[in-house]
């Protein structure tokens, strides 16, 4: 597969990686590597998967700690129940599956078996938003909205390999249930090694006076590219990266929004119930009346196809962010 990003392509097989965009460096399986490193100093960490170990990058952990790894088969309700039971014996289970299964299929277990008791389980969910061409069965386009409704659940949508590694460590160190979106395979490096991830904290990555882009997940990579391109056109666009969806950093969002004339939200998720909704709620609560343009997926099921084709069609590209901001002028 060549890197011809927006040309028509073909649906890739499960586990095949798209080319990394924009000539960035990449890291293979940053989550699996980070978890395995942690496993050496943390004997309480246990790995779990539901027949998707290969596709959620957790197999390095299995190979290093076979006695602390369980593959429960295609049974996501049981995956979460087993994780809850392990947590009750003092373990820190990292349970991987796809976002669609962790949310739509296992929801009652996440809500009642985990979150209701504030158990120390980390769900790591592959194929977030529009990162697979397998259609609505595999595209977790509404997972953030669903999981936001669960009291006490921490929700992370990381941008790149650096952040995945940092977030894996951070969620292992913080007690409580977590839902973390996973970028798997060859994951681009967007942030410098010195980047600091902190649960619940947004990071201002670019200052800007005309437009403020508030972004989460891999859309922050697109937002940064868009801001750089816009600067060359004389438009000053700031970027606030919000990797923690819950608890939401309302203070940083309100402060950032106060300093720009127009806000654009970008997310790898439907524009209902996720980042856009959170930003609008935050601004309303803070009494900030500013226009908000929402970039994200429509409230509909997405078809099958090549991921670059689909991301271009549904606006999850830097080009789409640039076009939306130019249209504001």
């Amino acid at each position: 597969m060549s890197g011809t990003a927006t040309e028509a392509g073909r649906t890739l097989a499960m586990g095949q990686d798209e080319a990394v965009r924009g000539g960035r460096q990449s890291v293979e399986a940053p989550f699996g590597k980070a978890l395995t490193r942690l496993g050496h100093s943390r004997p309480d960490i246990v790995g779990l998967t539901a027949d998707l170990g290969k596709y959620t990058d957790i197999l390095p952990f299995r190979d290093a700690f076979p006695d602390r790894f369980f593959n429960v088969g295609m049974a996501e309700q049981n995956l979460v129940a087993v994780a809850a039971g392990l947590a009750r014996t003092g373990k820190v289970p990292f349970a991987t599956t796809y976002g669609v299964f962790a949310t739509r299929r296992a929801y009652d277990f996440v809500a009642i078996a985990l979150a209701h008791s504030n158990l120390n389980v980390k769900i790591v969910a592959g194929l977030p938003g529009l990162t697979t061409g397998y259609g609505g069965t595999h595209q977790a386009i509404e997972d953030l909205a669903l999981m936001r409704m669960i009291p006490g659940l921490t929700i992370i949508d990381p941008c790149d390999a650096t952040e995945i590694e940092a977030a894996t460590k951070a969620i292992a160190e913080r007690h409580g249930p977590v839902y973390m979106r996973l970028l798997r395979g060859s994951v681009p490096v967007v942030f410098e090694a010195g980047y600091r991830f902190e649960i619940g904290k947004a990071r201002k990555l670019r200052g800007g006076s005309d437009v403020g882009i508030i972004s989460t997940g891999f859309m922050t990579e697109r937002a940064l590219d868009a801001a750089d391109a816009l600067r060359k056109k004389g438009i000053s666009a700031g970027v606030l990266h919000v990797p923690t969806i819950k608890p939401f950093d309302t203070e940083a969002v309100a402060a950032f929004a106060a300093g720009v004339s127009h806000i654009v939200t970008t997310e790898n998720h439907v524009v209902v119930g996720g980042l856009a909704s959170l930003v609008v709620e935050t601004l309303f609560d803070a009494g900030i009346a500013k226009k908000v343009s929402r970039i994200g997926l429509p409230d509909r099921y997405i078809e099958c196809g090549a991921v670059p084709t689909l991301q271009a069609k549904y606006g999850l590209t830097s080009e789409a962010v640039i076009a939306a901001i130019i249209a504001l002028a």
């Binding site: 369980f70 309700q77 049981n78 129940a81 087993v82 009750r88 009642i112 078996a113 209701h116």
Partner: protein
């Protein structure tokens, strides 16, 4: 600390008297509340007596003891029976039983794990066994001898997650896990609406060492629990045939009802009938 006794040492008569005491508590609680899942509670009383006063290893003064045996009540609405057992075991005060189902009481109609002695939130049926599987895995990692007992019901077997858990328990050879399958023949809509027979064959087919007994026969219950102690690589299932309302003829013979509600005045008659039955049996 309660300790396992060798099978032959069980004082069956003493355990039967404990079961009577649990039923007496439950009837008093149901009278106070005017309603409740009394049929299920009376039906499971013998099993809870055998567990809490013979089989389980636990310390009522140190509930967080890492090597305790766990009892998970998956059917949270059987709480009336669990509260009675926890009170008799010295984990909660007997006087507190009078608050069953009242606002702000810890003794809810359906169990939450905020009450001392409750190992898991029950009531969303199909949740218990998988959590028992996870606990058995965790105890094995810790090389603990502690075992995990999970009560679930015949109606609950209709939840697919029960079988997801059953598959994984045998696959991972969790021989310290014991499923207590309460087959009392009733569920929310009345008599079991979807035939689950043959129950024991299903558990055997899923790789469990399975026995099937009269769950209201104390000697049989104690014997089946003793047989389930063997660490032979297989999880254990005990299929318990229980009679809803056991011990109170008027409830035993009532229309099979998931939720029993009668006038406050009639409770006194029911309790008198229970005491008469108890007196005749001793």
């Amino acid at each position: 600390m309660q300790r396992n006794s060798p099978p032959g040492s069980a004082d069956i008569g003493a355990l039967e008297r404990k079961a009577i005491q649990l039923r007496r508590h439950m009837l008093t609680m149901a009278r106070g509340q005017g309603q409740g899942y009394i049929g299920q509670g009376l039906g499971i009383a013998d099993v809870l007596a055998a567990l809490y006063f013979h089989e389980l290893r636990y310390d009522p003064h140190n509930l967080a003891w890492a090597d305790r045996d766990r009892f998970l009540l998956s059917t949270g609405h059987y709480s009336i029976a669990l509260w009675a057992a926890l009170a008799e075991a010295g984990i909660i005060p007997v006087e507190e039983l009078a608050t069953y189902g009242a606002d702000n009481s810890r003794l809810e109609m359906s169990t939450l794990d905020t009450t001392p002695g409750v190992e898991v939130i029950g009531g969303s049926l199909g949740h218990g066994l998988g959590q028992g599987v996870g606990q058995a895995m965790g105890l094995r990692i810790d090389k603990s001898e502690a075992r995990v007992f999970v009560e679930l019901s015949d109606g609950e077997m209709q939840e697919g997650s029960t079988w997801e858990a059953a598959m994984s328990a045998s696959h991972f050879k969790l021989d310290g896990l014991v499923a207590l399958v309460d087959c009392n023949g009733i569920q929310a809509d009345g008599p079991v609406v979807l035939d689950m027979e043959p129950v024991a064959d299903k558990w055997r087919a899923f790789g469990w060492q399975t026995s099937e007994i009269d769950g209201n026969d104390m000697k049989a219950v104690v014997g089946a629990l003793a047989d389930a102690r063997e660490r032979n690589g297989k999880p254990k299932a005990i299929v318990l045939r229980t009679l809803p309302g056991k011990g109170v003829p008027r409830i035993e013979t009532a229309e099979k009802s998931h939720f029993f509600r009668i006038d406050v005045a009639q409770w006194d008659g029911i309790i008198a009938e229970f005491e008469k039955t108890v007196g005749a049996s001793q």
